[in-house]
């Protein structure tokens, strides 16, 4: 009994330690509504107030997660939950990719792994709408969707190769005090594939085709938002077990009601 409680306590201790290290790095995002590129039959989508990590999760942070959650180590991960690219540039279970810095964003992790990481510290992945809502903010504007310069800058950052090697915080700080929403890595969202398989719309059978070719313009709300097209196309190409070099994540948290 004593032994068990010790284990429980120590797990709790480790967890809280891990949590404490991470918790302050969130910002409050005030709720509101906006018009996403896809995914909504009604034009506007509302987002409730929530917390979001200021930075994407780093290699260093993920390493400490692996130390306490060995089942997510490279050699032990269940293949159903992560494809062969999982931590592909790690030399072994606990030596991160040497091409990137400890403070660079973790990449080559699956949706399952990202979800497990967030769960583990009492957080969750942001929804796609939450993520898009925060990502539409420039340095000064809460909604810069119609700012052509902002959009052009995002497109350019998406085209720039190897940005996963940069450190978190190296791009821009947006209206909400959140860094690196664009220009560092793609980020997992909890419902990344909902546009394709939402099951709601009658046009569902056609939705996956609609991201190809000019079909991508069908049902889109803003034909000039190329950056958003690129994000939605990216999300449409991935599956939950995929691990990709340019794909990382950050965590969110709901506010207690």
């Amino acid at each position: 009994m004593k032994r068990i409680s010790f284990i429980v306590l120590s797990i709790f201790f480790i967890q809280t330690n891990f949590l404490a290290q991470d918790m302050p790095a969130m910002k409050r995002i005030n709720g509101g509504d906006f018009v996403p590129l896809y995914g909504s039959n009604e034009a506007r989508v509302s987002v409730e107030t929530f917390l979001l990590d200021i930075y994407p999760v780093t290699n260093e942070q993920y390493l400490s997660f692996l130390k306490t959650n060995p089942k997510w180590q490279k050699s032990k991960v269940i293949s159903l939950f992560a494809d062969k690219n999982y931590l592909s540039k790690w030399e072994n279970d606990l030596s991160p990719n040497k091409e990137a810095l400890p403070n660079s964003p973790i990449t080559n992790i699956s949706w399952y792994a990202a979800k497990a990481y967030c769960d583990c510290i009492g957080k969750r992945l942001p929804t796609m709408d939450e993520w898009e809502y925060v990502a539409m903010a420039s340095e000064t504007k809460r909604n810069a969707q119609r700012d052509s310069l902002f959009n052009q800058r995002i497109i350019e950052s998406y085209e720039t190769p190897q940005t996963y090697k940069k450190e978190v915080g190296s791009t821009y700080k947006n209206y909400w005090g959140i860094y690196d929403m664009h220009g560092l890595v793609w980020e997992w969202t909890s419902d990344f594939n909902s546009v394709l398989i939402s099951g709601e719309s009658r046009k569902d059978v056609d939705t996956d085709k609609s991201l190809f070719c000019a079909g991508g313009s069908v049902n889109a709300t803003d034909l000039m938002d190329y950056a958003a097209f690129m994000r939605y196309a990216f999300r449409g190409s991935i599956k939950a077990n995929y691990c990709i070099q340019s794909l990382g994540f950050r965590c969110a948290k709901s506010l207690k009601k």
């Binding site: 080559n108 190769p161 940005t163 793609w186 190809f212 313009s217 690129m230 449409g236 991935i238 990709i244």
Partner: protein
């Protein structure tokens, strides 16, 4: 009797064989159309033999012809690479490529082939891609089946049903951007038995590019979405960059050879007016299909379309490939070279035979002042009416452009001939100006003029007529100039 019988038999035989051959001939006739359509036997029924890996080539090279090989299972393995390369001197661009080149690797297959296509998206790439091959019969031309995330690969198969030269391209949203960044190429589906043999084959594909900086602005240039939407191209090039087919990169041939160009246009926006300066296409497979046009100067290559052009090179020299929407060639890079070596052939092309000065003032050949000319005068003098008639013709052709229809001239540039004091003061001087030319300052009706009047290459009769016409028009002094007046002035010079 026997003989008669024989003859009868012969006649019967003859009639029968006549009928037989007529029937044969008729059946040949009636088969003529089905003969063509026999190639259109349901291509999906063509059986395949064995398998082979497709040879893929970067432009301007093309894989070896299929020749007489049977339909097979053709394995195509293509890797997508996003990479920074030179657009022109000092300017780079992040190209998205099929197989590492723009345009992408050339794929050569034949009707009936079962193509097993594997598309690999390199792990260093940031974006998902796919491929839409216009040679594919199926949803999205393969795009729906080939959508692939970075670090992943996908395989799909299709049967080549229609011969022709087809474009392939990436069709991932935003599709225009993927094409604008170089994601296009050509796939050739040869008919059974292959295309006719030629001496040289090359791969040329046009594309338009939209960069943040203007044409020539140095450094790494990003894709400019607004310019792309406005179809305002900074670069229009063959094979992905300025100079990909010029200088040391020129394509080559020998005199007497037949050249076949597989010409594609990736767009994303602009339609190409493909032309080779100094050559006439003996044969064009219009839009890359079955229809053949002959003796073509310029062929239209649609965005997302192609053409196969063939021509025999008869003389040596450099032949320039252009988009004859010519500012694109001159200012935006749509220019390539075909260098032909071998012996001259003066009966086809002489080279330069003579040169002279040409000044396009008026329709008559003119020479600069102060150059002598021997003139041959006609014999019989003209009447005033005849001079007026010929004079007007000469005036309209030679003088009108500057001196204007009513002889008013143009202030400060070309002096007036109407009611002209300079003209009416001195007839010989006026004739001299026409036959010898005139430069330097003169004053006409109180206005100063300082220009050049070129020497007019006109006969004495023409000069006499035009001078008479001028003197008898527009309130001048009605002098009638004779051919001998003109000859006298000309010779006194």
């Amino acid at each position: 009797m026997t003989r008669l019988n024989l003859n009868t038999t012969d006649i019967i035989k003859g009639v029968l064989s006549f009928l037989f051959f007529t029937a044969l001939f008729l059946s040949c006739e009636s088969n003529a159309t089905p003969e063509n359509s026999s190639q259109k036997i349901d291509a999906s029924e063509i059986a395949v033999q064995g398998e082979m890996t497709a040879e893929l080539t970067a432009p301007p090279k093309v894989p070896k012809p299929i020749g007489s090989r049977a339909a097979t299972k053709l394995i195509v393995d293509m890797e997508i690479l996003e990479k920074e390369e030179e657009m022109t001197d000092g300017v780079t661009y992040v190209y998205w490529t099929f197989g590492g080149s723009v345009p992408g690797s050339f794929i050569r297959t034949r009707i009936g082939d079962e193509v097993e296509f594997t598309l690999k998206n390199h792990p260093d790439n940031k974006l998902p891609h796919n491929i839409d091959l216009h040679a594919v019969t199926g949803p999205g031309g393969g795009a729906t089946s080939s959508f692939v995330a970075p670090g992943h690969q996908t395989t799909f198969s299709f049967k080549a049903l229609n011969p022709g030269l087809y474009v392939y391209h990436c069709a991932t949203a935003p599709v225009g951007m993927h094409i604008a960044n170089g994601m296009y190429g050509l796939i050739l589906v040869e008919p059974a038995g292959g295309l006719p043999e030629v001496d040289r084959e090359y791969y040329v594909m046009q594309g338009d590019f939209y960069t943040k900086g203007e044409n020539g602005e140095q450094g790494l240039q990003a894709f400019d979405m607004k310019k792309a939407v406005d179809e305002d191209a900074d670069y229009v090039v063959f094979n992905g960059k300025v100079g990909s087919l010029t200088g040391d990169n020129a394509i080559t041939a020998e005199v007497g050879e037949t050249v076949r160009l597989f010409v594609g246009n990736g767009g994303p926006n602009l339609v190409s007016s493909f032309h080779v300066i100094g050559e006439i296409f003996d044969k064009v497979n219009v839009e890359g299909g079955d229809m053949i046009n002959k003796d073509v100067q310029t062929t239209l290559v649609p965005a997302g379309g192609s053409a196969i052009v063939e021509f025999k090179v008869d003389v040596p020299g450099t032949f320039i490939l252009v988009d004859h929407s010519i500012f694109r060639a001159f200012n935006k890079g749509a220019l390539g070279m075909l260098t032909v070596s071998g012996p001259e052939n003066a009966s086809v092309y002489s080279g330069k035979q003579q040169e002279g000065i040409y000044q396009p003032e008026g329709g008559t050949i003119q020479e600069m002042p102060d150059e002598g000319l021997v003139n041959k005068s006609p014999t019989k003098a003209l009447t005033l009416t005849e001079k007026m008639k010929l004079g007007k013709t000469v005036y309209d052709k030679t003088c009108l452009a500057c001196h204007q229809p009513t002889g008013r001239g143009i202030t400060a540039a070309f002096p007036p001939l109407a009611k002209s004091d300079y003209l009416n003061e001195d007839v010989d001087r006026a004739i001299g100006v026409v036959v010898n030319g005139k430069s330097g300052e003169i004053t006409v009706n109180g206005e100063k003029y300082n220009n050049i009047m070129p020497k007019q290459v006109l006969s004495d009769r023409e000069v006499a007529s035009v001078m008479t016409y001028i003197y008898n028009s527009w309130e001048n002094n009605k002098t009638e100039v004779s051919e001998s007046d003109v000859a006298r002035v000309r010779n006194s010079h």
